[in-house]
Assembly symmetry: D3
Homo-oligomer: 334 residues x 6
């Protein structure tokens, strides 16, 4: 039984190669990913024990998702094989002033059509310590939101720690307010919330004025107050172009804020960076890292994710710890 | 205004490269196609005038379909931009004893959700001479079947010749009988029916015993009798492996049967062969070829299709006529 | 009939993949392009109406050029099919201190061998509003220069606006002076001239000292005075390496200069950037944008071109307007 | 605990793409495989329970082997991570009169340097039913032969069925006689021997004259007599070119011979065909198939292997059973 | 100084990948070749000593030709660097009934514009034993024909054996008669002529009726009589599709005919097969093989060429001798 | 006979494409290289005369190394064909904070198993002027170190200039001290030493405190004093990420230091940069450049190497001299 269970949608990602636009590409590169699967792979990659739960049709394309997850050491035994299609997203990497672009083709996916009662949560969570989910799943459909609620309730009942990544996707919700309405009732039972100042404001209405002192700390404080979270992690991305980003985070725990260093990143693939942050944070907390060490580790992990093509953060524990300890990439290792 | 209008679904085709299975491919090759679009491209490729009507969402992936059709000279002015997704099919080419395999992901496509009244058939058919459709479109949804009926009625009303390719797809119908029930009412108004002995039997119940003299002729005769067709074209494929096929056809016209020679083909890509047959047959009839010349031309055209990757038959009039006149492929042309 | 007609040479572009040098590449990526075709595609891409005129041989390689232009919505009905070859250029993208490199193999191309009288300019320009040409075409051959003169005269006679992009290519002329001698007589009839301070100086001898106040304005003023242009657009590129460039422009109109903001660009493919500038400027002026809005739009369009592989600027109106309005590429759009 | 355990060497396979020779290829396609790993994947692919044991260094290239095996559902928990390198083989596919070609670079691999005592056979075999090994492993080194003997002894002691595939490789032995000397002592404890008439003769000296009645049956009978095998399976390949082969087998069990039908195959990749035969035969016998059904199933499985690139036979139970039941590959399944 | 010198045109070959047509290919695969360069590579590949003479521009694309020839061991020291372009040919491989197709873009190439006096034939031939040329070079231009004549005269004067491959290319001559007129005066000085019955008839008017006994022998006899050849080699290709060919040859020497066995070939790339025949024949004769052995060797060599992508026959002496001795390609060599 | 002879190990380099990690790549790009071969190619690329000596097995993979070296104009006549394998290294390019990574698989390579007496140094050095070797070769094995000593002694005896590049590789030595012990005895006979301040300190114990004035000059002075070098070149790399580096060097000659300008580089492939520095320095010194000109030239050459994929610096003399003279890469050359 894995220590950490994540639940959500995994999609076929079809990426145009290099800097080609979707209308130009002669082929699409095939990878797979989804916010919660990405978290599970991050944990398994670090040597942690992770399982992933979703619903996938019984066809060869969906089988790729399972094969790859198993290959990276994620437990897939509780994936339900049912439904008609795996969700798809088309991705075009950005460059300079041109932003990366996603076209979702995920409606009617197997997980979006999941119904309450299909997942044996008691078996799934038996022996597990942590449940992670994100704000994407309840956005997929009313029934997917219900299944998510089911899972949270079971996890809580069985004593698991519960983490939640808001992951607001403008193309899945009518507007941030709708997201707030659907997600708020699910916050009960969440111990750790991963989000950003901007999301907290637009989705949950946490209104901390831009000029108001330590905005992150105040945002996190209000989130904890409003929803009863034990901890809040706020990631902060900055940067005006598709090629370069500045990345850092704050961890709010027991009333205190811990700030990571910021990393200036030359971006290869930023999809999944936030997920690798959540995964590495969970891993670090589970192994008992203190707040400062955990946030530094999670930010180092997700910094490296920006250099790896695909959703998954295929870096090693040693590589992350070296970066967290101050190493850079300036030399070929030979 | 194009001479020939075709109507149906065009899909994004994602093919695993070479002989790789869908679970192995590192990328999917991107082409586009669909039975009726393939017919339109065949006609345009021959120098004929063809337009294609469908419904496609306003996104970059669907835009590829339009760009490519325009590129090959097909009129796309009446494609309706609406709906949520373009249908997709995953294709794995077969080899030897392993059959080619298609996974459809076409439910909820823009054209499947088309509603009667969305297409201005009177404008579309103004000045046109021929309307071609296939049995795939009515299989997509009840509303798509209705729209097809609308189109046939308008074409008939406006004096166009109407051709129909049965194109039975087991994965789209519950069973052949269901196809027969849906398609039969649409047969009124069809002048030319393209099918095979096997389809005529399973879908329309034309029961000509295997041993019974000239089966093709008798099948065609009964089809004409039952539905009032003026002509029937029956294609005949034989061959036990994915690599090799034998291909020929019969054309039944004014009570008489005309048989093409058979071609023994080393297969590159057999998808769209039947469609190129229909397109070339329409082209030949429209330019006034006699029955024997037309069927020989259509079979030569579709023989060459088997050698071209993708759904479209990107060969020239000269190449087809050379093959119809007896040339082979034994020498490099230099 | 398209609103804008452009005329010139389209070439087969053979690019070594990635950063490989021409001697290393296992294959050449195939795109097509040429200064004036690039302008036509930019306009069509924006939703404008554009046609392209050239001379191409009747072979499959040249057919690709036509198919692609049609695919992007450019009218190709007046392309003359004659001659023996399509021009070719080999391209190697630069990197850091290594400059991009072009090897022209365009001598004896179909358009270089075009003769006066081959193009029905009266038909071509019937109903059109704007004619665009560049300084490359007269460099191809004496007869190509004559045909260009023919076109300009016809456009002027028929009341079209005429724009001209100097596009000095050192490998096509003996020296800048020769270019000046050939091009100067063709300037009569040009309304809008697109060039740079450096080109104006070397080719047309507009000698504005480096220290002399607003050099751009003075250069534009002297160009208008010398040749009777109504407007002049001056693009300005800066940057010492192949990877990074700074890009901006000035528009001189009715005696006044309008300056765009500058964009710092991480370069994917800079070929065709100037052409997309001309195309977007024409589009903006035709739709009635004011001078400031037009130059901002054209610079935003051409900034984005630097991020798109190939000669063509396959970006949308919305993307350009977002950048002109201040957006960057810092987030994946999902 | 898996039902079937296989043990041997898995290698990085570097294949030149298409028909390119090794001196021409711009890149090598990466797959992994080895006789015994191929058997394990075949069984897992069929839904059986298989584990694979080997020794691999702790580097990223070897990690690919483990990831892929896990991905296909093979238990890799007892792979020992030690040693300096994973074996490599370069492969060039043949064509027509040009034979496929293998260059081994497998000396000093981790498994070749394995020492007795490194593998906890009692744990590995706990709960297992079947142990499979091949004649390749003892050819790798003296110590690898010893470890193989260790495994056979443990399997025998713990009551597992033991199968052995001779797999004579001319490049690994000095001559067939040497192979016979090393392998003969290991035959004690083997229940099922997979080989061919030719191998049985050259390696084990089973001398059945070509003209002598049913050669296969007599060869099998003598093998059983000499080594105490319960069953012998003899595969038979025929065919003079790299593209086409004829494939069939005989199963000798309880004194009786069962012959499969022969399949005429158009070859995509013949490497691993024999291994898929062994895997499918073990699977069939374990599920209780009778001798005739088992041999037909194993031959159908390995026939399909010839159509799948890479060492692994990525076909499904349903596909194999369809072929065993007489289906061909003549139609695209849609 | 190499033993064998060949002279002619080497071209950049741009091939669409797989079975894609030229209008479909996303990239062109780059190889180089030309009849006489192919002969030189064949000889060097066999361990012989060969040099190649041509005229190439001083650019990176032409440099590839030199690098590759040097890489395969051909002496390139007498290649003249001058002129404006390297000739290009676009190639599309055929399939089944669709023939392979070549588009030449070789006019105005450096070698076509070569002038008499540019090549120091006395230096080039110093120490050489054999000069080989083909009927392509005199087809390129009047001056190229003159240079060829110069070379033949020098070779004759310096006592080299001279071989000639007719290599009739319909796209380079107005008609076969024109070829005959240009080539006939050059025949004086040729010792070995390589051609086919069909070419001998159409180009040289050797009219041996189809029914007339041993046509090859009679054709060869008349050729020797007419032109004073010492030997004639006639290749014979048969086969109606692009995929399959039957290949054999006859060698006429000292009044006697020697026939090779015929090989039934599954074709990968037939371009250059005839050139490898000439190269292997020259190699065999130079090392002193008898007529029968030489023709068998040359046919085995050129049979294998059909399996190697590109113009060059990258097979080894051992592989050819194995095939000549009766081996096939039925087994992977491992 | 070449002017410069280099000796060492050439390896098959298998690189994962783009930014893919080794565990992700579907294929490995194939190049070849090794420190001393890279030096030889640099010299040949500049028009110098260079030969390369190593030991390689007689197989197709090793043959690629020879073909490519010959192709680039390097003399390979003294490469010994013996041994069992060519060394391999797997390379993953770094990105941003993720460093490039090399996995060596070079143990037991043909050159590592070379024995004294196998190379005919007197013949090899006959007529040569310069011998270059690096600190990698003695790291390969005790016998390789002995062969290196043999070569140095012969070169010295025959009056060649000898240059040495320290090239410390952590993965080949137990620690820097061991390298120092093995290399120090070989320093006698070296005229030019190429290294860095860091290497000089760790390997040779040259201890110049960080704060101590001109560290480079002092390091070089002490090296000359300790080992009797005539000149020392110190390269200096700076930069914290895999994408960007700052590169410069110092040349110490006749007691005086000459400093190159520094170049800020956007990195494509940094492997082989130091080797191209050595090659260009040798070339410059051999043609008689003064110290300042030589160091500027060598740094410009190696700056450009960072932009070329693969180990070899495939740039031209003209490109290097243009950069040394101050040109950048800011414009496409057309």
């Amino acid at each position: 039984m894995p220590d950490v269970v994540t639940f959500g949608e995994i999609m076929l990602r079809l990426t145009s190669p290099g800097h080609l636009r979707l209308v130009q590409a002669p082929h699409f590169e095939i990878t797979l990913g989804g916010a919660e699967a990405n978290v599970a792979v991050m944990i398994a990659q670090l040597g942690g024990s992770a399982g992933y739960v979703t619903r996938l049709p019984a066809n060869d394309v969906a089988q790729r998702a399972i094969n790859e997850l198993r290959g990276y050491g994620v437990d897939t035994n509780f994936i339900v094989r049912a439904g008609n299609r795996i969700g798809i997203y088309f991705l075009e990497q950005g460059a300079s002033q041109r932003a990366g672009k996603v076209i979702y083709d995920r409606a009617h996916s197997a997980i979006a059509e999941a119904q309450p009662g299909e997942f044996p949560w008691d078996k799934i969570f038996a022996g597990a310590k942590w449940f992670h989910w994100s704000g994407i799943t309840p956005a997929l459909s009313v029934s997917a939101a219900k299944v998510t609620g089911e899972a949270i309730a079971a996890a809580r009942r069985m004593g698991l720690a519960v983490s939640f990544d808001l992951n607001y996707r403008a193309k899945l919700w009518e507007n941030p307010e709708q997201a707030g309405e659907v997600l708020s009732p699910l916050m009960k039972g969440v111990h750790l919330c991963v989000t950003s100042i901007e999301e907290a404001q637009s989705v949950f209405g946490i209104d901390v004025a831009a000029g108001e002192g330590p905005r992150g700390t105040e945002t996190a404080r209000q989130l904890c107050e409003k929803f009863g979270f034990e901890s809040v992690a706020l990631t902060q991305r900055q940067g005006a172009t598709a090629n370069a980003t500045s990345w850092g985070a704050m961890f709010f725990h027991e009333g205190q804020s811990y700030f990571s260093p910021r990393h200036e990143i030359s971006v290869v693939d930023r999809v999944g960076a936030g997920d690798s942050f959540s995964g590495a944070l969970i891993f670090a907390l589970l192994r008992g890292d203190g707040a400062q060490k955990a946030i530094d580790f999670a930010v180092a992990a997700s910094t490296l994710k920006h250099t790896v093509p695909g959703d998954y953060n295929l870096v090693s524990l040693a590589e992350i710890e070296a970066l967290a300890a101050g190493a850079g990439g300036g030399r070929v290792q030979r």
